[in-house]
C-alpha cells in the first residue's frame, strides 16, 4: 500500500468515526436537581423498616409464623373458601388483577398490593386504618370479603391455633360460654348476639381479634419491594457508571424517567423509594356508576379516628405520644373529598387494572387521564393538563414497566405455609 492510500484510508476511518459519533445516541445528561430526584426514587435509599410501636409482636418471628398461617387459611371466612391470600395472591404481587376484589361477594374497591405497606402511616385507599394490623381486621368482618365476625374467629383461634397463639400472646380467654357468631357487623342476628355480650366478654374477644391482626402484620412486614431495572440505573448514575446505565434502561425508558421527574409532574405524589408519598390526592378519577357514593379520604379520615383498633385505642401497644400521625392528621376539609392514596408504583406494569376501583384497564388509559386532567366527579382534581405527545406518554409507560422487580422476602413467605 502506498503512503497516499494510507492517508485516504485514515481519513475514511476518521470520517466514519465522526458519522457514528453524530448519529450514536448520546448518553443522557442530568442536572444536579434531576440526579437528586432520581436518587430519591432509588430503592437503595429506602430506610430500614420503621418500628410499629402499636404492635409489640411486630418483629416476633413466632407471631410472623402464626400470621403467615392465618393469611393463607380459608377457614377464617363465612364460606370456608376465602383467606387473605385469595385476593392478595403471592404470585401476583399480593393483589388479584381484578377491578374489584372478590371474596364471599364483590368489594367496592380494587385489592391493593402489600409489599412495603409497613412504611405507610395509612392503609387502604382511603387510609381508614393506621397500621398493618388494624388494616388486616377490616376484610375479616367485611360482609363481601371474609364475611365473618370476631367471636367466630376467636373460637377458631382457640380450636385451630391455641398453642401458637398462646406462645405469642399468652393464655386465651374462656370463650366456651360465648355465642358462635357475634360481632358488630351488618347481619342483624350476629350484631344482636354481640350486643347481648357483656362489655368484659366483648373486650376479651376484641383483644383476640386485634392479636390476629398483629400476627398477620408481623408476617406482612416481611414483604418488601426488591430492586427493579430502574434501580440498577439509579445506582449506576450515582456511581458514575455510564456503561451500567446504558445496560439498565433503554433510551425510551430514560426519556420516560426524565418526564416522570419533570414535565409530567408524576413525582409530586409518586416520590420516595416506594414511588408514593403515602398521602391522599384527588386526581379526578371517574366514579363507577354501579358503586355507592365514595368520598375517599373524607370518609376514611373519620373512620380511622373512630376505629377502636387505631394507634390510640385500647388494643394498641403504643403510648398516645407515639401516635403522632393520628394526632396531627388532617381530619376535615373540602380538600379530602375523593382523595385516595397513591399506591407504590413498584411493579405497576404488572398490575392492571388501575385506580381504586379498577377504572382504567391499561397504562395508556392512565396516561391519557393524567394528560387530559378531567374535572373530578366530586371535590377538586389536583391535576393540570400536561400536553404530552403520544410518544412522550409511551416513554413514561416504558419507564413504568422498568419499575418491576421481585418482592424482597425469604421464599417461605411467598407461598402458603407447609
Amino acid at each position: 500500500m502506498t503512503r497516499g492510500r494510507w492517508i485516504v484510508l485514515a481519513l475514511l476511518v476518521v470520517a466514519a468515526g465522526l458519522a457514528v459519533a453524530a448519529f450514536w445516541p448520546r448518553a443522557p445528561q442530568w442536572t444536579a436537581e434531576e440526579r437528586a430526584a432520581i436518587a430519591g426514587l432509588w430503592i437503595g435509599n429506602l430506610p430500614p423498616l420503621p418500628a410499629d410501636p402499636s404492635n409489640r409482636v411486630a418483629d416476633d418471628p413466632a407471631a410472623a409464623a402464626l400470621g403467615h398461617r392465618l393469611f393463607f387459611d380459608t377457614r377464617f371466612s363465612a364460606n370456608g373458601e376465602v383467606a387473605c391470600a385469595t385476593c392478595h395472591l403471592p404470585e401476583k404481587d399480593f393483589q388479584d388483577g381484578l377491578a374489584l376484589g372478590e371474596g364471599v361477594g364483590v368489594a367496592n374497591r380494587r385489592t391493593m398490593p402489600l409489599a412495603g405497606t409497613a412504611y405507610s402511616p395509612w392503609l387502604f385507599w382511603d387510609g381508614r386504618a393506621d397500621s398493618q394490623w388494624a388494616q388486616a381486621l377490616g376484610p375479616l368482618e367485611n360482609p363481601v370479603e371474609h364475611g365473618g365476625n370476631r367471636t367466630y374467629f376467636a373460637h377458631l383461634i382457640s380450636e385451630l391455633y391455641r398453642e401458637e397463639y398462646e406462645a405469642v400472646f399468652g393464655p386465651l380467654p374462656d370463650l366456651s360460654h360465648l355465642p358462635r357468631l357475634a360481632g358488630p357487623v351488618d347481619d342483624p342476628a350476629v350484631q344482636a348476639a354481640w350486643e347481648a355480650m357483656t362489655p368484659a366478654d366483648q373486650e376479651a374477644v376484641n383483644r383476640v381479634f386485634a392479636n390476629m391482626g398483629k400476627a398477620i402484620a408481623a408476617y406482612e412486614r416481611h414483604l418488601n419491594p426488591g430492586p427493579a431495572r430502574f434501580d440498577a440505573y439509579a445506582q449506576a448514575l450515582i456511581g458514575g457508571d455510564a456503561r451500567a446505565m446504558r445496560e439498565a434502561l433503554t433510551l425510551d425508558e430514560v426519556a420516560g424517567l426524565r418526564l416522570f421527574i419533570g414535565e409530567a409532574n408524576c413525582i409530586q405524589c409518586h416520590n420516595g423509594p416506594l414511588l408514593t408519598n403515602n398521602d391522599f390526592h384527588n386526581t379526578g378519577v371517574p366514579a363507577v356508576a354501579d358503586l355507592p357514593e365514595d368520598t375517599g379520604r373524607a370518609a376514611g379520615a373519620q373512620l380511622v379516628l373512630a376505629d377502636p383498633f387505631n394507634c390510640v385505642g385500647p388494643y394498641s401497644d403504643a403510648d398516645a405520644s407515639q401516635c403522632a400521625e393520628l394526632r396531627f392528621m388532617l381530619a376535615e376539609g373540602e380538600q379530602l373529598v375523593r382523595q385516595y392514596k397513591p399506591p407504590s408504583l413498584r411493579n405497576v406494569g404488572d398490575r392492571d387494572p388501575f385506580m381504586h376501583a379498577g377504572q382504567f384497564i391499561t397504562l395508556g388509559e392512565v396516561l391519557i387521564h393524567y394528560n387530559v386532567a378531567p374535572a373530578a366527579p366530586a371535590g377538586e382534581s389536583e391535576l393540570e393538563p400536561l400536553g404530552l405527545s403520544q410518544e412522550e406518554m409511551m416513554q413514561i409507560i416504558a419507564f413504568l414497566r422498568a419499575l418491576s422487580g421481585p418482592i424482597h422476602a425469604e421464599t417461605k413467605w411467598l407461598q402458603a405455609p407447609e
Binding site: Q268, G272, F328
Partner: protein
C-alpha cells in the same frame, strides 16, 4: 439580608424564627419544629398563641397534616409538632401570633427537593 428561617411579621410587631428537628427538611417525614417568637426589639414573647397554616400556593392545596403548637418551652420558644411535606416544590408556612392583646403574622417560603 434576613436568614430564610427568621423574619419580621407583616406589621413589624414580632420576629419569628424556626428550627426544624429534621435538617435538611426532607419530604414524607413527620417531624417537629421549634418556633421562637420575640418582639421587634428582641424580647422573648412567652405568652403567645400561635396558629399554623400553609400549603403549596402553586398547586392550590394546603398542608397534608394539621401541625400544632403543643408546648410552650419558655424563653419565647414553642414546640410545633406534626409537620410534614409530601412533595417537592414551593411550600409556604404561615404563623399568626397573638400576645398581649396584639396580633401579627408572617409567611415563610420553603423550596423542598
Amino acid at each position: 439580608v434576613e436568614a430564610p428561617n427568621s423574619r419580621l411579621t407583616d406589621n413589624g410587631l414580632y420576629r419569628i424564627s424556626f428550627t426544624s428537628a429534621l435538617d435538611p427538611i426532607a419530604i414524607n417525614e413527620l417531624h417537629s419544629w421549634t418556633l421562637h417568637v420575640e418582639t421587634a426589639d428582641g424580647q422573648p414573647v412567652d405568652d403567645a398563641l400561635i396558629t399554623v397554616d400553609g400549603g403549596m400556593p402553586g398547586h392550590g392545596h394546603g398542608l397534608p397534616t394539621q401541625p400544632q403548637v403543643t408546648q410552650n418551652l419558655g424563653n419565647g420558644n414553642y414546640l410545633l409538632e406534626g409537620v410534614r411535606f409530601q412533595m417537592p416544590g414551593a411550600w409556604v408556612m404561615r404563623f399568626d401570633v397573638a400576645a398581649d392583646g396584639q396580633s401579627d403574622g408572617v409567611t415563610f417560603e420553603l423550596a423542598l427537593q
